[in-house]
């Protein structure tokens, strides 16, 4: 991996200086699944402490100081929503503190592998962040939430917890719990509902979980990467923290997790990974995951991999998936495949999502198949307007965002398909889309 792509890891960290990299090198994953193929060696507790130093306590006055640090580095939720972490922490503290703190590593987005990479290679960094967050908000109920079937991740986390216990680290017990291997298992209200003894399905959030979540107590739920960043920031303080991003780059048959400095562009990233290094530039990329946005390559190439910059451009890193497609692919076919997956992956609880996304997926397939006229496109537009904002969770809105961005980015293809011809031939399917198990 070249220095431009990745924060240069100092091979000989100076004494007292914290290595601020989360992973340190690219991690490779297969097209599907969450078991890493190759990457840097996993850190056991000894290697972890040698790399990062011991975890500083966040008890007493160190708690408010850590909240200040989290606020001053503008840490946002890396599960995809990018909500400011400090606001959640202050919400829990204002509600009386205590309760449950959850490290969400279930990563339901099929394209994403960054949390699997972190939990398999740097589990102690995530656990450090979990323990520090719990100390700062006064919680003694610590949970790591994972997907069933994410065997390698589960083993790494359990082994790390065993190592911590054997080493006699003074910290509350950490429970590892799993939910079914479905798209929505990591949705925050589904996690809270499951921990309350209900089904692992989203529900309408009437009261914020930071006020009343697990067992009606304040509940702090963070994505695994968010907590790994807490683990780093607790050591570096605000000045030494580097605001990198972990990306899952989906190219051809494989996925690569890389850590990227905010000055690096998506053009730099894609040029150095996978087939695009040799086979010319892509036409567009899907940014953020299935519920993210398509961005034309002419817009994307020069964009910095930096959430604040993306936000200013009306975009979001989302779940930090970057999936470019080549120019001989039909963006509308890719969109229809993903829209179908999202429609099939709903919880089947809310009418507007259950019936609405199904209808949207049908119309997008008709569009992909060059089988639409003006009235179908108008109907698609009307359906999308009707569904927006009406699910119990954000699932339908993510699907709508992805479809809406496709209609915009692939506007030329929409025109051609309406006339009954596809420029690309519609044969090549590039984005991995798994079968939905029901």
């Amino acid at each position: 991996m070249s220095a431009a792509l990745h924060a240069v890891p100092d091979p000989h960290p100076h004494p007292g200086q914290v290595d601020a990299d989360l992973i340190g090198a690219a991690v490779h994953f297969p097209r599907e699944g969450s078991e890493s193929l190759r990457g840097p060696a996993p850190d056991d507790l000894a290697a972890h402490v040698q790399r990062f130093g011991p975890r500083p306590s966040a008890l007493g006055s160190a708690g408010p100081a850590l909240v200040e640090t989290v606020e001053s580095i503008a840490l946002t939720g890396r599960g995809g929503a990018h909500f400011p972490a400090a606001i959640k922490w202050r919400g829990v503290i204002a509600a009386g503190g205590g309760g449950t703190v959850i490290a969400n590593g279930s990563e339901g987005e099929p394209l994403a592998a960054k949390d699997a990479a972190l939990l398999q290679l740097r589990p102690h960094l995530v656990l450090d962040g979990l323990v520090s967050a719990a100390e700062a908000v006064g919680s003694f109920d610590l949970v790591v939430w994972l997907h069933e079937g994410a065997q390698a991740t589960y083993r790494a986390v359990v082994q790390a917890i065993d190592e911590r216990r054997a080493a006699g680290l003074v910290e509350p017990r950490i429970r590892v719990l799993t939910g079914p291997a479905r798209y929505l298992t990591g949705e925050s209200s589904a996690v809270v509902r499951a921990l309350n003894g209900g089904p692992t399905l989203p529900e309408l959030t009437r009261v914020l979980p930071v006020i009343s979540g697990v067992n009606g107590r304040p509940t702090l739920l963070h994505n695994a990467e968010t907590l790994a960043r807490v683990g780093i920031a607790a050591r570096t303080g605000p000045t030494g923290y580097r605001p990198t991003s972990l990306l899952t780059v989906v190219t051809g048959g494989q996925r690569t997790v890389v850590e990227v400095e905010p000055s690096v562009t998506f053009g730099d990233v894609v040029a150095q990974i996978g087939p695009y290094a040799v086979a010319g530039t892509p036409q567009a990329m899907l940014l953020g995951g299935y519920g993210g946005s398509w961005v034309s390559w002419s817009d994307a190439a020069g964009l910095a991999v930096d959430q604040p910059a993306l936000k200013a451009a009306g975009l979001s890193l989302g779940a930090a998936v970057v999936a470019p497609i080549p120019s001989n692919t039909c963006g509308l076919v890719e969109t229809a495949r993903i829209a179908q997956y999202l429609a099939d992956s709903g919880a089947r609880q809310c009418g507007p999502c259950l019936f609405g996304l199904r209808s949207v997926a049908e119309l997008v397939w008709a569009l992909a198949d060059c089988d639409v006229g003006r009235s179908e496109l108008k109907r698609l537009d009307r359906f999308m307007g009707e569904i927006a904002g009406r699910g119990a969770c954000a699932h339908p809105d993510g699907a709508l965002r992805m479809v809406a961005s496709a209609l915009d980015v692939f506007a030329d293809d929409v025109r051609a398909h309406r006339k009954g011809r596809c420029v690309t031939g519609r044969t090549l399917k590039v984005i991995p889309v798994p079968e939905v198990r029901t």
Binding site: P199, E203, L204, Q349, P352, C353, F355, G356, E386
Partner: protein, 92 residues
């Protein structure tokens, strides 16, 4: 359908405890729990000024504070919903 989306189930009880603090006044919002809603449609007949239905028969409810007159029809809809899916939520 899961057990606790039925009327009077745990989630409905919790919702009533949490959201029916004080008497609803102008400024409250009408909301629907889409898990509980079965698209029966009584609400849109009782509060046609406020509630329309989508292409599949589910209610579309404006995301804004209610005025005095709207509050009365909203309360009628809340009371009449056979799934107890509608509720009034105070501002904030």
């Amino acid at each position: 359908m899961s057990r606790d989306v039925l009327p009077g189930g745990a989630s409905a009880r919790r919702a009533r405890e949490v959201t029916t603090v004080g008497r609803p006044t102008a400024g409250w919002q009408l909301r629907v729990d889409p898990l509980a809603c079965d698209g029966i449609g009584i609400c849109s007949h009782l509060a046609p000024d406020l509630i329309s239905v989508d292409s599949w028969g589910y209610p579309i409810i404006p995301r804004r504070a209610l005025g005095d007159r709207e509050l009365r029809s909203a309360q009628a809809a809340v009371t009449a919903c056979p799934r107890r899916a509608l509720f009034l939520q105070p501002p904030g």
